[in-house]
């Protein structure tokens, strides 16, 4: 910037404005090409809002928006003033801008959007024109402050580059309407990349991602694709220290003319002359093997010679790098009847491997956090203690695919003759839900034991704690205090929006529900709860059945039907011991919510 340039340079740079205008994208309806990139950004970074914008000297036009609910054709609403936008900072900086808390950040705290629309976290990468001008930004937005991981930023950078390429494609479309062949090729390439992006991010299991990678490339770009996963990831750019490199061939895809190599585990690569795996690791990027009339030696030792005998005579090998380590190696093969790959094809193969790395990083992170959340949740759900005069059992069923959940139960002593029973459910199925569950559980324990509070007073305090600390958006809790007195067991209880427990008499004389209609306010982050207590006596033989909504809530049926059904199943199983009874009541088969059952029987 020179002294003569105005402060808002290059926002008002005529060359930049001309480039923005030349995109022909201002004031045009949404298009899937940009929408899909934005949707992917929102999904991968976990941000609620995402945009692709083009910015002139007055306003930021939102070519793509995710999370705003604005209709695709509503071109008038799809914009805001430059002064209100955060995209202006990307253009002024000519570089990515990352804001973790807009209300604190010097660059942004004066921006009107911080107060009017509540923008707090913002990360945007430049979308550039053919001559390098910043046309607008590819950005994600949250209404709460947050940090961005290196993986988040990598996702944004990659997708912003894809958006830039999309703009270039449009420019080519208009510039050279006569060179239709060239255009068709460009369009096909963009379409293939879009399909690959879509396929890669559909799976959260890394091996599945790699299978998708193999199958989506054949036959558009290659006749064979084979993925080898390294048992031990290695640093690219140098020869691996520990040889052999061991791989599992986890995915293969081929055109019909070529026999499919079997998936195989424990393939050893010793780094002999011509060893493609060791060589591509050392090279660190795409490696082209010359066309050869002979079956390579490594193909014989790995059981893929038939691929070559069937006419595949060109191979490229590409490393898949995740967090700085080669985690997989992909072999692409081409049949001798096909045009050889040109430089652009090879670029594209390399780009696909890079996308695969991003997708894998995403799914690996997901698996790691999910695993730690599972461990956390399971470690808290231990067997209830033995209580004289009562028989107690609890069980837990995770949702469908062993998902993390926010359901919990708890039983603990309050002094010498009183016991606390708790069942709760935190909204969500992720690490945040599991963490909030653990915090609420221990907060409730603390509040219940540090002084002699009634259940209602305890939940009122818990509601305040949840709001003050912002533990969770929503949780339902049933909390009861069981006391054994001269007249038997009494239960004093309070429920914060929790599905009502059932009390079944041994005589099968009937079922009582404990509250629930209408329920008291669920614990939530937005509104305080004030609760009241209720009391009931439990006769010898009575069974108190506490549960979370996963036990009764099945899509397509209503709650009343769920209770009736639960009560009927419990009545039928009443002769069983409490452990078996618990197991009987858990949902069977496939279900999409986790579920807890806590059962207590008063011994005669």
């Amino acid at each position: 910037m020179t002294a003569a340039e105005p402060l808002d340079w290059p926002l008002t740079d005529p060359a930049r404005l001309a480039a923005v205008d030349a995109t022909g994208l201002l004031d045009t309806p949404a298009e899937s090409a940009f929408d899909e990139l934005a949707a992917l950004a929102a999904r991968l970074t976990g941000m609620p809002l995402a945009f692709v914008t083009f910015v002139d000297d007055r306003r930021s036009y939102w070519k793509a928006t995710v999370g705003t609910g604005i209709a695709p054709e509503d071109v008038c609403t799809r914009q805001n003033a430059v002064a209100d936008s955060f995209c202006q900072y990307v253009i002024l900086a000519d570089a990515p801008v990352v804001v973790t808390d807009a209300a604190q950040d010097e660059r942004t705290r004066g921006n009107p959007s911080v107060t009017t629309t509540g923008v707090r976290a913002w990360a945007g990468y430049p979308v550039r024109g053919p001559d390098g001008h910043v046309l607008g930004s590819f950005c994600v937005v949250d209404l709460a402050p947050r940090q961005f991981s290196a993986a988040d930023l990598e996702v944004l950078e990659t997708l912003a580059t894809a958006a830039t390429r999309e703009v270039a494609l449009r420019a080519a479309l208009r510039r050279a309407q006569d060179t239709t062949v060239e255009l068709a090729r460009l369009a096909a390439r963009q379409e293939l990349m879009a399909r690959i992006l879509g396929a890669l991010h559909r799976k959260l299991d890394p091996i599945e991602e790699l299978r998708e990678l193999a199958s989506v490339v054949v036959p558009d770009l290659a006749d064979t694709a084979t993925v080898h996963v390294l048992r031990t990831p290695v640093r690219p750019g140098r020869r691996p220290e520990n040889l052999p490199v061991i791989t599992d061939r986890v995915a293969t895809a081929v055109i019909p003319e070529v026999p499919l190599p079997a998936e195989r585990t424990g393939l050893a690569w010793h780094g002999e002359e011509g060893d493609p795996v060791v060589e591509v690791v050392r090279h660190g990027r795409l490696l082209r093997r010359p066309a050869t009339p002979d079956v390579p030696r490594w193909a014989r030792s790995t059981g893929s010679e038939r691929t070559f005998l069937a006419g595949v005579d060109q191979v490229v090998v590409v490393p898949v790098v995740v967090e700085g380590l080669v985690v997989a190696v992909v072999f692409f093969g081409l049949h001798r009847d096909r045009e050889p790959w040109d430089d652009e094809d090879l670029d594209q193969l390399e780009e696909i491997a890079r996308y695969a790395g991003l997708a894998l990083a995403n799914s690996l992170t997901y698996q790691r956090t999910r695993d730690s959340a599972l461990v956390l949740q399971r470690s808290l759900l231990t067997d209830p203690p033995a209580v004289p005069g009562l028989e107690i059992a609890a069980c837990y069923a995770p949702a469908g695919h062993d998902e993390v959940g926010g359901d919990w139960y708890d039983v603990f002593a309050l002094g010498s003759d009183e016991w606390a029973v708790v069942v709760g459910d935190v909204v969500g199925h992720d690490i945040a839900a599991a963490a909030a569950m653990s915090q609420l559980r221990s907060a409730l324990r603390t509040l219940a034991t540090d002084r002699d509070r009634s259940p209602a007073a305890t939940l009122t305090r818990l509601s305040a704690v949840n709001r003050a600390l912002g533990l969770t958006d929503l949780a339902t809790v049933f909390y009861g205090r069981l006391r054994h007195g001269p007249a038997g067991w009494t239960l004093r209880w309070c429920s914060a929006g929790h599905p009502p427990p059932l009390v079944l008499a041994a005589s099968r004389a009937g079922v009582r529900t404990l509250g629930g209609d209408p329920g008291e306010i669920a614990l939530n982050r937005f509104l305080p709860g004030v609760y009241s207590d209720a009391e009931t006596t439990l006769a010898p033989g009575d069974v108190l059945l506490m549960y979370t909504d996963g036990v009764i809530e099945v899509r397509g049926t209503d709650l009343a039907a769920g209770w009736d059904e639960l009560a009927a199943r419990a009545a039928d199983a009443l002769h069983l011991g409490v452990s078996k009874l618990c197991g009987e009541l858990l949902p069977k088969g496939c279900h999409d919510d986790d579920a807890v059952v806590l059962v207590l029987r008063v011994l005669p």
Binding site: G67, G69, G428, L474, P518, A522, N524, D549
Partner: protein, 113 residues
């Protein structure tokens, strides 16, 4: 572009039916709550331009409503005068009552028919 969306997403929509009124169809859960959230924020913003900060959510065409939806309604109820329209005795009506929501918003029960 031929990228296809994931095939199993249930049909869901949340549309502004009249000023300050959002009509919801389908299943409200973790997957669809964000869309409902933006529809409600949109409706809120619009009424805040001139009218009172109030919003009505018509849930009669909702066949599943889980805790993600409950959390969202608590959030909206904290910011605006919220009315939900439900079919009397329906699953959604039950969820609204059990979860304590009926204490923080107005429930307009419409007889089934």
């Amino acid at each position: 572009m031929t990228a296809t969306p994931e095939g199993t997403v249930p049909e869901f929509s949340a549309a502004v039916a009249a000023p300050g009124t959002v009509a919801v169809h389908g299943e409200v859960d973790l997957a669809t709550a964000p869309e409902l959230r933006s529809a409600l924020t949109g409706a809120l913003r619009r009424t805040a331009d001139g009218g009172p900060t109030a919003v009505t959510v018509d849930l009669r065409a909702v066949n599943f409503f889980d805790s993600a939806g409950v959390a969202l309604l608590y959030e909206v109820a904290a910011a605006a005068a919220l009315t939900v329209v439900v079919t009397a005795g329906s699953a959604v009506d039950q969820v609204v009552r059990i979860s304590g929501l009926s204490r923080v918003l107005r429930v307009s029960q419409v007889p089934a028919g």
